[in-house]
Subunit: 255 residues, 2 copies
């Protein structure tokens, strides 16, 4: 066991509040599909959501932001709390210890920390994969983007957490035009549409989608793209940040 891990456990136990954790459902968009940021634990086939604990004097939202910076290097992302999971038996730590095969969990204080009951608050984040720099934590051999439709088995109740995050996002999609944090500065309407289709899990009508989006009045159209496709070159758009934020404030449709 490396020095890094021991140190991390020490500071975790001394600086964080017990019993409460944070799990982040971090979504990005690449190659026409939605991807989820996952950690793979060292020398195991255990996959989990990036997460962490809350420092004693830290706002919970700030803890989520910190975790995002640590795992993705991104400090300004769309980040929103969506649910707190309070089932007392959500974590099967004995099973975890077995799978870990004597890695990490030796020290009694550390084992006790992991064995305690945790209530976890789920946050979802929408980020631009191209700007992200995933870094594994001390327990993980990798931190990587995985196609949302090809997820491996996840630890504990993390699959449930992902499911609920997606459901919250789908609902919010009705009144919050996501996208600015997930797409490159300039994008085509088709790219935006594919992103929406990824969230909703179903195809949308091309013509209607364009009209609906453009009517929101939050886009700026740029000169044509000339990328090599055997077809008419699509317009490039970007978000008019001011109008976009104003729309986020008041929402769309509704009430």
């Amino acid at each position: 066991m490396q020095q890094g891990v021991e140190k991390m456990f020490e500071s975790m136990i001394s600086e964080c509040i017990p019993g409460h954790s944070i799990d982040c459902v971090v979504l990005g968009y690449e190659d026409k599909c939605l991807k989820l940021l996952l950690l793979k634990w060292k020398n195991t086939s255990i996959w989990s959501l990036p997460g962490g604990f809350i420092q004693k004097e830290e706002h919970m939202d700030d803890a989520a932001k910190r975790i995002m910076v640590e795992r993705t290097g991104l400090d300004t992302v769309f980040l929103s709390q969506f649910h707190t999971f309070g089932n007392h038996c959500r974590r099967n730590v004995d099973d975890l210890i077995k799978k870990l095969n004597n890695q990490f969990l030796h020290d009694t204080a550390t084992v006790d920390w992991f064995k305690q009951r945790f209530i976890t608050t789920g946050y979802f984040a929408l980020v631009d994969i191209r700007k992200s720099h995933p870094v594994p934590d001390a327990l993980s051999e990798s931190c990587s983007w995985v196609d949302i439709n090809k997820l491996p088995d996840l630890i504990f109740d993390h699959e449930e957490i992902v499911r609920l995050a997606m459901s919250h996002i789908r609902i919010q999609l009705n009144y919050l035009p996501f996208g600015i944090s997930m797409l490159p500065k300039r994008f085509t309407m088709t790219e935006l549409q594919k992103l929406y289709e990824g969230f909703l899990g179903r195809p949308l009508d091309r013509g209607n989608f364009q009209k609906k989006m453009l009517k929101l009045g939050i886009f700026m159209r740029h000169e044509k793209q000339l990328l090599g496709g055997a077809h008419k070159a699509p317009w490039l758009y970007s978000f008019d940040r001011t109008k976009y934020e104003a729309l986020l404030e008041k929402g769309i449709g509704f009430i």
Copy 2:
């Protein structure tokens, strides 16, 4: 200080998990207005939301249910978690102790319990006032229904919690037809409309409201009401429970 309070503190500290609390925004409807269930602390002018703590082996949702039963005697209510408040400085306990004027908080273990940092999860509940039997807890001299538009100052950040609950309810109102748990078995469309207006804080068109509601197909119409008003007697409706629950499942409008 009575025996009851000491006992309560003892079991609270020994049986509940520290650092996490639950606060309930309990709403009822009476006399054409929305009312909030509030506790008034003994011999003070401190008002607060009913709340409590989570037992060591208790699911968080069950804790919320238990708290609802304890305060209202109602065990099947519409109860839904809406947000977790994780600001580390949300509670000014020194101020509380001053206001309490040496009541309750003497024992060091108890003072320590209250002085610790709490993360609280907010639940909202929609109940039928007529069926409720508000009972104060050991610290309170009263547990009573207060007009949502005439709230007193609340302790800590409880006003913020109420505000956020209302905002969540208003959004959910767009796809969940609330009402079954708040109105008497039989009600008129105008009563339902007044309830909605209470949530939304604005008047709705009478004719359009009726058509929209009836189109949902979750109502049963009964024989006419003959109550003494100098006008046409309105129909009485009740919720068709089966269809209502089915609609709650899939939501209305949307995606």
